[in-house]
């Protein structure tokens, strides 16, 4: 009996703590004392200046991060299984770094490196490169930073996926039949890793769509940064955007687990 009581108490307290703020947030966005019930706050999101632009920028960044993460992590992971087991501790270390280095310290390092680099290379052709990777519309520095942050998730997801595949046999069979390395990678290995690749991609996208600290401190107007700047004094709009971003995470996770289940 005691067991049932404490369980009910725990679940009750948890339900109040987690659901009340959510319910209040949703209520706050659709009800207004002067206007009554209205979905206007959600309509204002789409018409707010910069919405499409920042969303597109974040989606582009996300696509670049996904492609780069997969292109970097997959060959390395295959190599570990095909005869370079010495690589594994190196990869484990690389993918642990973002857990140790808080984003704010990472952005301090990047900002200082860029500032120092621009001063030091002012007279050389590299200066132009340094300026162009900081381009406002498609900041390559941000892509690189996000690739480093996304690597741990992508690595774990792909590693788990590869565990279920006999990589060595597949590769040797394909190579013996005359397949080139790109053919092996794209037509033999990747189709066997569909759910792991989907997992890595969605986790990377979720990271890009939610990361605020690095983008904001470097002055890039990505979607999460736009959310903050546009909120300003419009309380209803800011909470509506919060509800929207929570919905976005939920949608991404739902797609993620859906993709995982389908291929099993």
């Amino acid at each position: 009996m005691a067991g049932v009581t404490w369980r009910r108490l725990t679940l009750g307290v948890a339900a109040v703590y987690f659901l009340v703020p959510l319910a209040i947030a949703v209520w706050f966005t659709v009800y207004n004392e002067s206007l009554g019930f209205s979905l206007g706050a959600y309509g204002r999101i789409v018409s707010a200046p910069g919405f499409g632009e920042s969303l597109l920028k974040s989606l582009l960044l996300g696509a670049a991060v996904i492609v780069l993460v997969l292109l970097l992590a997959l060959p390395a992971l295959l190599a570990v299984r095909l005869g370079a087991p010495g690589l594994r501790p190196v990869l484990e270390t690389i993918t642990t770094l973002p857990l140790i280095v808080p984003p704010i310290t990472y952005v301090v390092g990047i900002a200082n490196a860029l500032r120092g680099g621009t001063d030091a290379l002012a007279a050389t052709p590299f200066w132009q490169t340094l300026i162009s990777i900081q381009d406002e519309n498609f900041p390559v520095v941000l892509v690189l930073a996000y690739v480093m942050l996304a690597l741990p998730f992508a690595y774990r997801s792909l590693d788990t996926g590869l565990r279920a595949v006999d990589v060595r046999t597949l590769v040797e069979a394909a190579r013996n039949l005359g397949a080139s390395w790109p053919y092996v990678l794209f037509r033999v290995i990747l189709p066997n890793l569909r759910s792991a690749v989907a997992g890595a991609s969605f986790l990377s996208l979720a990271l890009v769509m939610g990361e605020y600290t690095i983008a904001a401190l470097m002055g890039y107007r990505t979607f999460p940064v736009w959310i903050v700047t546009i909120s300003g004094n419009d309380g209803q709009l800011s909470v509506a955007l919060s509800v929207l971003s929570l919905g976005l995470i939920w949608l991404l996770l739902l797609t993620l687990s859906g993709a995982g289940r389908k291929s099993k």
Binding site: T10, I24, L78, G83, L91, I100, L144, V147, V228, L241
Partner: protein, 282 residues
């Protein structure tokens, strides 16, 4: 045999070649900022190297912010670990598949929910003109202090703990409990001698993850408390964006180094434990 080892060795070389792009990108994207950070933290104003910046971070106002960040992270880590474990146990033993599925999915969503949107939702609830504040007549400033921040951080920390601890709790076989109870152990003795030791690594590992999450969090605190709760992340951002006197850039670097050292010390507990706990789940 010799041919086989020979091909192995060649495979190894090709392997490092396949990993070369990753290693090069890491060296550029992580290595350069890391070197700049360490060199900058030890550079003194007149040129040359010294401990001037680092010793400055050991004085007020910086040491207070560091200490307050560590305290907040410890409160969130311990509170989140205990509450998360209780919640997971309550859900997993409830025998309702629907509840279990719902709580685990919700945990996945909320564990990833943070930043400024999290702050907005709590401001609407418990902020100075929040709904609950008005309904209960709590007055102003309930949320904008140390404990308010801890309350908000738990909103993503407890779900993260549920996700970390649930597989370990599932691994706790009911037969062990039955065996212990049949041999005359009390519920307390079962948890003291069987449950907690088995869950130990997962509990501690989860706690370290929560500590890291709370320690690194910046956006939520910046949107919620501004400067009223001193935190090291807020100090670094101020120094970086020039909200303070010019010439304090190296303080930001030194504070960053302090943060990384603290995170490293805490992580050093976690990494060996992760290996141990993965053995239980196998």
């Amino acid at each position: 045999m010799a041919g086989l080892t020979g091909s192995r060795r060649r495979g190894g070389g090709a392997g490092w070649l396949a990993a070369a792009p990753l290693l090069v990108v890491t060296l550029i994207a992580f290595g350069i900022p890391a070197v700049v950070l360490v060199v900058g933290a030890f550079s003194v104003k007149g040129g040359g190297f010294g401990f001037e910046n680092l010793s400055a971070t050991m004085r007020e106002p910086y040491i207070g912010a560091l200490w307050s960040s560590v305290k907040l992270s410890a409160v969130v880590a311990i509170g989140g670990a205990v509450l998360g474990a209780f919640l997971a146990q309550a859900v997993l033993t409830s025998r309702s598949g629907l509840l279990r599925e719902a709580v685990l999915t919700a945990s996945g969503v909320l564990a990833n929910f943070g930043g400024v949107p999290l702050a907005f939702i709590w401001i609407a609830t418990l902020g100075n003109s929040g709904v609950v504040t008005a309904a209960l007549g709590l007055g102003s400033g309930v949320l904008y202090n140390f404990w308010g921040l801890a309350l908000v951080y738990l909103y993503f920390s407890v779900p993260l703990m549920v996700l970390v601890i649930a597989p370990a709790l599932d691994g706790l076989k009911p037969q062990w409990r039955e065996a212990a109870l049949n041999n005359g152990a009390s519920t307390w003795q079962f948890w003291r001698h069987v449950g907690i030791p088995v869950l130990g690594p997962a509990l501690l590992g989860g706690g370290v993850l929560l500590f890291g999450g709370a320690f690194a969090a910046y956006a939520t605190a910046a949107a919620m408390v501004g400067a009223s709760v001193p935190l090291v992340t807020l100090q670094i951002a101020d120094a970086l964006t020039g909200n303070v006197l010019i010439g304090y850039e190296n303080i930001a670097l030194a504070l960053s180094l302090d943060m990384i050292v603290i995170a490293l010390l805490v992580m050093a507990v976690y990494l060996p434990l992760q290996k141990r706990s993965s053995r239980w789940l196998a």
